[in-house]
């Protein structure tokens, strides 16, 4: 479930791409975790996330609203909020620290920028993961620009075929770029797909 670690892209693009995730641990703090995980996401919701989701239920674009995501969450949910800027992430982290909800909170983004966010929120990073990229038969991969969009859903629920399909629809003027980005966002059930960044990347592909 390293679903946000291996996102590809340029540093400039990734400077507008931060995932905050919260989860409980079986046999430790899972019982009663629903309210705490919803609590984390409600804090995030105050600071303009561009996506909200729970891996086990779906994201706000598929379910219709953040409230619908909250309603369906259960103990052991894997809660996500996605931000397109650092400032909103920092505000969320500060409030989550103050709320002291006891859930594991993980942030994915440019590593040094996240380090700075933690410092500003008075948090001490505990553990970190870095990606060494893609190995093996890399000739099977799509081109780099498409990969940058595809890897925003680490579970591969946004196939390249869907990407090609929405690009064709934009060219035929059946969808706007923003509508196409939303169509790509829906299958990513976790809510870690960034529609703002997807729209920008689609613009460059067209």
């Amino acid at each position: 479930m390293t679903h946000t670690l291996h996102r590809t892209g340029t540093p400039i693009d990734q400077a507008a791409d931060y995932t905050l995730m919260a989860m409980a641990t079986k046999d430790a703090n899972l019982k009663g975790s629903r309210e705490k995980l919803v609590g984390v996401l409600r804090i995030c919701l105050k600071h303009n996330p561009i996506n909200i989701g729970d891996t086990q239920q779906g994201d706000m674009y598929l379910l219709g609203s953040a409230e619908e995501v909250f309603k369906r969450m259960v103990d052991g949910a894997i809660a996500h909020a996605h931000f397109d800027n650092k400032e909103n992430l920092i505000k969320s982290l500060k409030e989550i620290r103050e709320a002291d909800l006891g859930m594991s909170v993980i942030v994915t983004g440019l590593f040094d920028e996240v380090k700075d966010c933690c410092a500003q929120a008075k948090l001490t990073p505990h553990t970190a993961a870095l990606s060494l990229g893609i190995w093996g038969k890399t000739e099977l991969l799509p081109d780099k620009k498409k990969l940058d969009i595809h890897t925003m859903c680490g579970h591969a629920m946004v196939p390249v075929a869907l990407l090609d399909s929405v690009i064709a629809k934009v060219k035929q003027q059946k969808l706007t770029i923003e509508e196409a980005a939303v169509e790509l966002t829906k299958p990513c059930v976790c809510g870690v797909f960034n529609p703002t960044r997807a729209a920008e990347l689609l613009r460059r592909l067209l």
């Binding site: 996102r7 052991g76 993980i106 996240v114 970190a128 990229g133």
Partner: protein, 241 residues
């Protein structure tokens, strides 16, 4: 997954684009599922892509049910309590203490991004890593391992094709070079891609156990990373010696 062919009107362009493994194919005038390629991810069923509700989940018996466990992010592994690919890795390390000072965690995700993998290729990577790592016990790939000393998987699972599977373990930092060499070699032997992630406790000075060593070995990690900010309770306590 199956398609109710009596109801299908053949508008395959609407549904097939949601299949990450191109398993929805045309059969005469209707759509059908290529069962070898289908990884049971349920994306076609979950998305409102069929105007006639033709997608119908099947009761999946073992070992085909393993496809869904490794492909549908919504499924929860009851042993670990984790959805996605069934393992928490470093994400709950502030509670579990899975990754300690002086060690690093490794996660090799076969089939990612978006290619899929046979379990035979997963086994190749397990065998390559077995001499160097301790496989994570709370991980769905380790659960289907016949022998954690050799990395061999159970025979009944080897014919399965999944969207991705994470081989995961704990490694002493002194073994970093050997692990990367083993991965490089096996990378030439598999018919798929794999994404490699390393995790570490963050030391008091902000450093990670492998970062300088990686640089000396000529590896440059992605700029994007994942940080557990240490807020969980009850916290796992480890003294740095």
């Amino acid at each position: 997954m199956r398609i109710i062919q009596e109801e299908c009107r053949g508008c395959i362009e609407k549904c097939s684009v949601y299949c990450p493994t191109q398993a929805i194919i045309r059969d005469d005038d209707v759509a059908t599922i290529d069962r070898d390629r289908c990884v049971e991810c349920y994306n076609c069923y979950r998305m409102p892509c069929c105007p006639y509700d033709c997608f119908e989940p099947e009761d999946l018996a073992w070992p085909r049910s393993f496809r869904r466990a490794m492909s549908d992010p919504i499924t929860v592994d009851n042993r670990t309590g984790v959805s996605g690919r069934g393992t928490a890795e470093m994400k709950t390390n502030d509670v579990t203490g899975r990754i300690r000072y002086g060690h690093f965690g490794i996660g090799v995700e076969l089939g990612r991004p978006g290619v899929g993998t046979s379990m035979r290729d997963v086994e190749k990577v397990c065998i390559a890593l077995a001499p160097h790592i301790s496989f994570e016990p709370k991980n769905p790939v380790t659960y289907v391992m016949k022998d954690t000393k050799t990395g061999k998987l159970r025979e009944d699972i080897l014919g399965e094709f999944v969207l991705s599977a994470i081989v995961e373990g704990d490694v002493l930092i002194e073994k970093l070079e050997a692990v990367l060499a083993a991965l490089k070699e096996v990378g030439g032997e598999v018919e798929t891609v794999f994404s490699v992630g390393l995790s570490s406790r963050v030391y008091p000075d902000g450093s990670l156990v492998f970062k300088d060593r990686l640089a000396r070995l000529g590896y440059t990690p992605y700029l994007c990373g994942k940080t557990n900010v240490g807020l969980a309770k009850p916290a796992f306590v480890e003294e740095l010696r």
